[in-house]
């Protein structure tokens, strides 16, 4: 039972962290343990690209809607959407105006909201809904009733986005946001749907015949990061110390059936794993 301690002029509640400095490495180490609760381990997160998919409109989106409608009910799915070209335009105007980085980060999420509504307008009749980003604790209700919640991806760093020196681009982007969404809920897999087959050594939109990477471990990737990344660099940095996400897959949403294959566990596109697959 907890009791109050007032011997030093401060009022403490007894606990293993009472009176301690939470900056002290030795104190922090005491809160470490090998295990961590997996809150919703059997949920699969799907990220749908903004510029790569949504900005292409009907031709890219409708076939994906069909695949998602067929997948509904076969497993528990949550969809996160990117913002795309409107995000770039927002940042470019804000950059020119000289808005502080936190101000820029505050603005960008609004552009994703539109894509969440676009997707939901197409998918609603098959059982989807727009879900506020942090309404995690309602997820069991939605998933048990076989709904597909759709959320924005950007993390809520807002005005508090940490400074990044000369860059006007927030480092905590949408891919990182989705990663963290999966990680905190103890999910194991994320599938990113883009307009390329997966990860290349160089951006295939800028270079001819770059080498495709079908399979790689996080460690290998961190040791030799491609200069032009298809996902946020911050995602990989955060993944290094994370505990739950074991696999990030990137598939080409413009190729029919790729998402369905990935949902069925097939190793299509690029598969990045936390550790080496046996």
């Amino acid at each position: 039972m907890s009791t109050l301690v007032q011997s030093d002029g401060r009022t403490h509640i007894t606990s293993s962290l009472m009176r301690e400095s939470l900056v002290d490495r030795r104190v922090i180490a005491k809160t470490h343990s090998e295990r961590e609760v997996q809150i919703m381990p059997d949920v699969l997160l799907i990220g749908i690209g903004g510029q790569s998919i949504f900005d292409r409109g009907k031709e890219a989106l409708l076939p994906l809607v069909d695949e998602l409608a067929k997948a509904r009910g076969t497993q528990k799915l949550v969809i996160g959407v990117g913002g795309g070209t409107r995000v770039r335009h927002t940042v470019s105007v804000a950059y020119d105006l000289g808005l502080p980085l936190g101000g820029i980060a505050q603005l960008v999420g609004a552009m994703e909201e539109a894509n969440a509504v676009f997707l939901n307008a197409l998918l609603a009749k098959h059982g989807s809904m727009v879900m506020p980003r942090e309404h995690f604790w309602e997820l069991p209700l939605y998933l048990e009733s076989k709904m597909i919640p759709i959320t924005i991806s950007i993390p809520p760093y807002h005005f508090w986005e940490p400074p990044a020196g000369d860059s006007p681009l927030p480092v905590h982007g949408s891919d990182f946001g989705l990663f963290q969404y999966a990680e905190v809920l103890g999910m194991k897999r994320i599938i990113f749907v883009k307009d390329e087959d997966g990860l290349y050594e160089k951006d295939p939109k800028r270079h001819d015949n770059p080498k495709f990477i079908a399979k790689i471990t996080l460690k290998e990737l961190l040791a030799n990061m491609p200069e032009e990344l298809i996902l946020d660099r911050m995602l990989f940095q955060a993944w290094e110390h994370s505990r739950h996400v074991t696999e990030v897959q990137i598939v080409n949403g413009l190729k029919p059936g790729m998402l369905t294959a990935a949902l069925a566990g097939e190793r299509v596109g690029t598969v990045i794993t936390k550790t080496k697959e046996s």
Binding site: H89, L101, L169
Partner: protein
């Protein structure tokens, strides 16, 4: 076909901000605002004896400077972190739950300052700050940044790395304030925790790179803040003063180098 909007960034690699070259000159939003943190364990958990004189000092200068007060968590936040760690919950959950305590503390401070124009604001009210200052109010908000469930997992332990010191620093940075003031119950930074080692050496002024190089086991401020300071565009100094010593806050707000100053370079 992608329907893209042409802009200076339509072709930029936004996945990796560190790679590009940018000529970015942000403007300071409200450089005159004094962003002040009132410590949780250090001040608020001491109750009336510590809190009242500090609020008196702040009220006395409220006509001189726009004051934005942010509150720390303290022992109840530690209790949440201890129980949540025992339950082996993820860092993001600890960060989200730890946020409740500084909000309670902000509400307590607001009640005490109400007769002097204290208004409780939430992160979402941030854009109304100019209104509150114009009306002569003292806005009070949580020091915790809104990262919550999106707080990254740490390499070691599960205590969120970004807590109220980080939130206060980032608040000062986005507003364009040059200095952030932290009111604690020690004179500033020491080489070791002065509560455990009374002979610990005091450090009056130090730069962020020097402080990182010293690699101290314990520091008076959250470590991420020192990292952020290195990359800051506006907030280039942190000042830590002892709120239990009368007059320290008033002098710090007047620009005197009392307590410890941690500088960007």
């Amino acid at each position: 076909m992608r329907r893209t909007i042409e802009s200076s960034l339509s072709d930029a690699l936004i996945t990796d901000p560190t790679r590009g070259h940018y000529d970015y000159s942000p403007v300071a939003m409200m450089p005159d605002v004094k962003v002040i943190k009132i410590g949780g364990q250090s001040i608020l958990d001491r109750g009336r004896k510590a809190v009242f004189p500090i609020l008196d000092e702040l009220v006395a200068v409220k006509e001189k400077y726009p004051l934005l007060l942010c509150t720390g968590g303290g022992t109840r936040a530690r209790h949440i972190y201890a129980v949540a760690s025992d339950l082996e919950l993820p860092t993001g959950v600890l960060a989200a739950l730890g946020g409740y305590v500084p909000r309670q503390n902000a509400r307590m401070v607001q009640m005490l300052l109400a007769k002097h124009g204290g208004v409780y604001i939430m992160n979402d009210d941030f854009e109304k700050l100019p209104l509150y200052f114009r009306l002569g109010c003292i806005p009070v908000m949580t020091g915790m940044p809104p990262f919550g469930y999106w707080e990254k997992t740490s390499e070691n332990g599960r205590i969120p790395a970004n807590r109220t010191d980080a939130g206060v620093f980032l608040t000062a940075e986005v507003l364009g304030a040059k200095r952030a003031l932290f009111i604690k119950d020690e004179d500033g930074l020491y080489e070791r925790d002065p509560k455990k080692d009374p002979n610990a050496k005091f450090i009056a002024r130090i730069s962020a790179p020097e402080l990182i190089a010293r690699d101290l086991d314990d520091v008076v401020i959250e470590r991420v803040v020192i990292q952020y300071l290195l990359h800051a565009r506006f907030c280039h100094e942190l000042q830590i003063v002892n709120g239990l010593k009368p007059g320290q806050i008033t002098r710090a707000l007047a620009g005197e180098d009392v307590g410890t100053i941690i500088t960007k370079s």
